[in-house]
C-alpha cells in the first residue's frame, strides 16, 4: 500500500518538556487517520512537525515522500490544513478569502473563479459569498475554512478538531464531507479529535497519544482485540436471572466472568465458540432467552481503558475476572 505519512522516532522538545516523543506511525494513501488524545497531548505539535512549521528535535518524518524539515513548502503546497481556529480574514468576504488562498497556493487564474464558486455552492455559502466573514456563524466559518483547505485540491488533509464548536447538524455535515473526501475522492485525512464517536465513525486507523507518546495504534477493532482477549456476550432474559441459571452459566466451560445489568446477563467468554453451549445450558437450567448478541468494545471503551492504564489502574479484563 502507498504510504504517504511515515514518522520514525519523531520528537520535539520545548525547553525541558517533550511535546512529542519517539513517535512512530504510518498512514496509507486514502486512509482516514484519527489522532486521539487529551489537550496538550502533542497532536497539534505533530501536525506542525509534519508540515515543516517546526523542526524535530530528534527523529524524522516523511510526507508524500518528502522530508518536512527541508521540504516544508513543497509539502504544504500539496496538503490542506484546517486549524483548530478557522484563521479566516474577517474583514474580507468569503470569496476574497478564497481568492487570496488560491493565489498563495498557485491555483491557475483560469480555473480559480470556477473552483471558488463550486466550493461555495458545495458548502452552502453561495448566497453569502460576498459578505464579510466576520458576520458568519461559527458553523459557516468552519465550512468556509474547510472549503479553503480544499481549494488547491490537496492530496492530504490535516483536520484539527473539525467539528469543534459546531451544532449537531453542522457536525454531521462535516463528518459526511470527510467520509466523502476519503471514500469518493481518495484523499488521505489526518484528523486530530477529542470526539471519540466521530473518530469511530470516520477513521480506518486511530492513534492514541498521551503526554507526547503514542500509546496505541490500529483500527478501533484491532485496538479492542489487543486490550480485551475475551468476548462479552449479552443474554436478554427479560428479567434478572435466578440462582440456578446463574450457577449453570458460571459452571459452563469457557466462561471467565459474569455480570448482571438490569435484564441482561453479561457473560465474558474466552472464545465466541462457547456461545451455543452457553445458551443451551441456560435454557436447560430454566432460563427463558429473548435475545443473544456479542457486545463489541467501542473506541470509547478503548480510549478510557488506555487512559486507565496510563493512570496506573488495572487492565480492564482483570476487573471482570475478579
Amino acid at each position: 500500500m502507498d504510504t504517504v505519512i511515515v514518522t520514525k522516532g519523531l520528537s520535539r522538545q520545548f525547553g525541558e518538556n517533550w511535546a512529542v516523543r519517539d513517535l512512530n506511525l504510518s498512514v496509507a494513501r486514502g486512509q482516514v487517520f484519527g489522532f486521539l488524545g487529551p489537550n496538550g497531548a502533542g497532536k497539534t505539535t505533530t501536525v506542525r512537525l509534519l508540515n515543516g512549521l517546526l523542526q524535530p528535535s530528534e527523529g524524522a518524518a516523511s510526507v508524500l515522500g518528502m522530508d518536512p524539515a527541508t521540504d516544508g513548502a513543497q509539502i504544504r503546497a500539496r496538503a490542506g490544513v484546517l486549524t483548530e481556529n478557522p484563521s479566516l480574514y474577517e474583514a474580507l468576504t468569503a470569496r476574497e478569502n478564497l481568492r487570496f488562498v488560491g493565489h498563495v497556493y498557485g491555483v491557475p487564474e483560469k480555473v480559480l473563479p470556477g473552483r471558488i464558486d463550486a466550493l461555495l455552492t458545495r458548502f452552502g455559502l453561495q448566497d453569502r459569498a460576498d459578505d464579510k466573514t466576520g458576520a458568519y456563524s461559527r458553523g459557516m466559518k468552519q465550512r468556509l475554512a474547510i472549503a479553503r483547505a480544499l481549494l488547491h485540491d490537496p492530496e492530504i488533509l490535516f483536520l484539527d478538531e473539525p467539528t469543534s464548536g459546531l451544532d449537531p447538524a453542522a457536525s454531521r455535515d462535516v463528518q459526511d464531507m470527510v467520509q466523502e473526501l476519503a471514500q469518493r475522492h481518495g484523499h488521505t485525512i489526518f484528523m486530530c479529535t477529542h470526539n471519540l464517536v466521530e473518530a469511530e465513525k470516520l477513521c480506518d486507523l486511530v492513534g492514541v497519544i498521551h503526554r507526547g507518546s503514542l500509546r496505541a495504534i490500529g483500527s478501533p477493532a484491532q485496538l479492542a482485540r489487543e486490550l480485551w482477549r475475551n468476548t462479552l456476550i449479552e443474554i436478554d432474559l427479560n428479567g434478572p436471572p435466578d440462582d440456578s441459571v446463574r450457577q449453570a452459566a458460571q459452571n459452563q466451560r469457557g466462561v471467565v466472568g459474569m455480570e448482571i445489568e438490569g435484564d441482561l446477563l453479561v457473560v465474558e467468554v474466552s472464545d465466541i465458540e462457547v456461545t451455543p453451549s452457553l445458551v443451551q445450558t441456560i435454557v436447560a437450567a430454566g432460563g427463558q432467552i429473548y435475545g443473544v448478541r456479542k457486545r463489541d468494545h467501542g473506541l470509547e471503551d478503548v480510549y478510557f481503558a488506555l487512559d486507565n492504564l496510563e493512570k496506573g489502574n488495572t487492565h480492564p479484563e482483570s476487573k471482570a475476572n475478579a
Binding site: 515543516g52 513548502a73 474583514a91 474580507l92 493565489h103 498563495v104
Partner: protein, 275 residues
C-alpha cells in the same frame, strides 16, 4: 531551488492593504499625519505673517536665525523682505525634520498591523501553513509596509511642494522650493527611515501581543528626529546635503541590519510557538 512565489507574495500585500483600508484606526493616522505636517502647519507658518501684516515682522527678528545657517544653504536673495526670508527659512529648512516623521510612522504603523495584526486576529497560524517560504513571507510583509510608506512620502513631498510655493509665491515672488537639501532628504534619508521604522517594529513584533504595543515601540525612532528639530531651533546643529547623505547612510545601515536580524526572529518556528 524553486522560483519565488511572487503571485502569492503580492496576494499578501493586496490582502493586507485591503484590511488596512477597512481599519480606520490604522489608516486614519496615515492620512492625518501628512495633512497636518505637510499642509496645515506650513500654511499656518507661511500665511500667518501675511495675515498679521508687514509691521509685525522686521528683519532683525529673522536675522539671528539666518546667521546661524551655513552660507548658500538657504537661497535667500539680498533684497528679500523679512516675510520672504521667514517663509523660505521655515518651509525649506525648519520643516525638513517634520517631513521625516511621515515615512517612519507609516512604515511602523503598517508593519505593526501586518505582522502583529495577524496574531491579534488569529490568522497567523493559517498563514504559516501556506506554501510560502519563510523568506517569501518576510519579504511580502516588508513590502506591505515599505511600498505605501514610500508612496505616501512621495505624495506628501509633491503636495508640500505645491502648498509652500503656492502659499509663499505672493511674498517670495518665485518658485523657491525644493532647495538642494530636500533631494537627499526625500530620496535617501526618508526611505532609510522607513526601513529603520520597519526594522524596529519587526523586532518588537515577534514579542508584541497587540498592534498598539508594536506600533508604539516602533514610534520610538521619532525621538532622534525631535532632537534634530530642537537642535535646529536653537541653532546648535544644521544639516547640509553632505551631512544628510552621511546620516542617511548610517540610518540605511541600521535599518538593513535590523531587518536582517528581524528575518531570523520572524522565522516560522519562532512565530508558530507564539501562536
Amino acid at each position: 531551488m524553486r522560483d519565488w512565489n511572487w503571485r502569492g507574495m503580492w496576494a499578501i500585500v493586496a490582502k493586507d492593504l485591503t484590511q488596512v483600508r477597512q481599519n480606520t484606526m490604522v489608516w486614519l493616522p496615515m492620512v492625518i499625519l501628512p495633512v497636518i505636517l505637510q499642509i496645515v502647519l506650513p500654511l499656518v507658518m507661511i500665511l500667518l505673517p501675511q495675515i498679521v501684516g508687514e509691521a509685525a515682522m522686521d528683519m532683525q527678528e529673522v536675522e539671528p536665525l539666518l546667521a546661524m545657517i551655513p552660507a548658500g544653504l538657504i537661497p535667500v536673495a539680498e533684497n528679500s523682505s523679512p516675510e520672504a526670508v521667514w517663509i523660505i527659512l521655515t518651509s525649506c529648512y525648519m520643516f525638513a525634520p517634520f517631513f521625516l516623521i511621515i515615512p517612519l510612522m507609516v512604515s511602523s504603523i503598517l508593519a505593526a498591523d501586518s505582522i502583529v495584526g495577524e496574531k491579534e486576529r488569529n490568522t497567523l497560524e493559517g498563514l504559516l501553513y501556506t506554501p510560502l517560504t519563510d523568506q517569501e513571507l518576510y519579504v511580502a510583509k516588508t513590502l506591505v509596509s515599505i511600498l505605501p510608506a514610500l508612496t505616501i512620502t512621495l505624495v506628501s513631498f509633491v503636495l508640500y511642494t505645491i502648498v509652500v510655493n503656492a502659499a509663499g509665491y505672493a511674498v517670495v515672488g518665485r518658485i523657491f522650493f525644493p532647495t538642494p537639501i530636500w533631494w537627499p532628504l526625500v530620496f535617501w534619508l526618508a526611505p532609510a527611515l522607513s526601513v529603520a521604522g520597519l526594522g524596529v517594529t519587526v523586532l518588537i513584533s515577534s514579542r508584541a501581543k497587540t498592534y498598539m504595543q508594536a506600533q508604539q515601540a516602533g514610534g520610538l525612532l521619532v525621538l532622534p528626529i525631535v532632537a534634530w528639530m530642537g537642535a535646529q531651533a536653537t541653532g546648535a546643529f544644521f544639516m547640509g546635503p553632505g551631512l544628510l547623505m552621511l546620516v542617511g547612510l548610517f540610518v540605511w545601515a541600521l535599518g538593513l541590519w535590523l531587518i536582517w536580524i528581524g528575518s531570523k526572529t520572524l522565522s516560522r518556528s519562532n512565530l508558530i510557538s507564539r501562536v
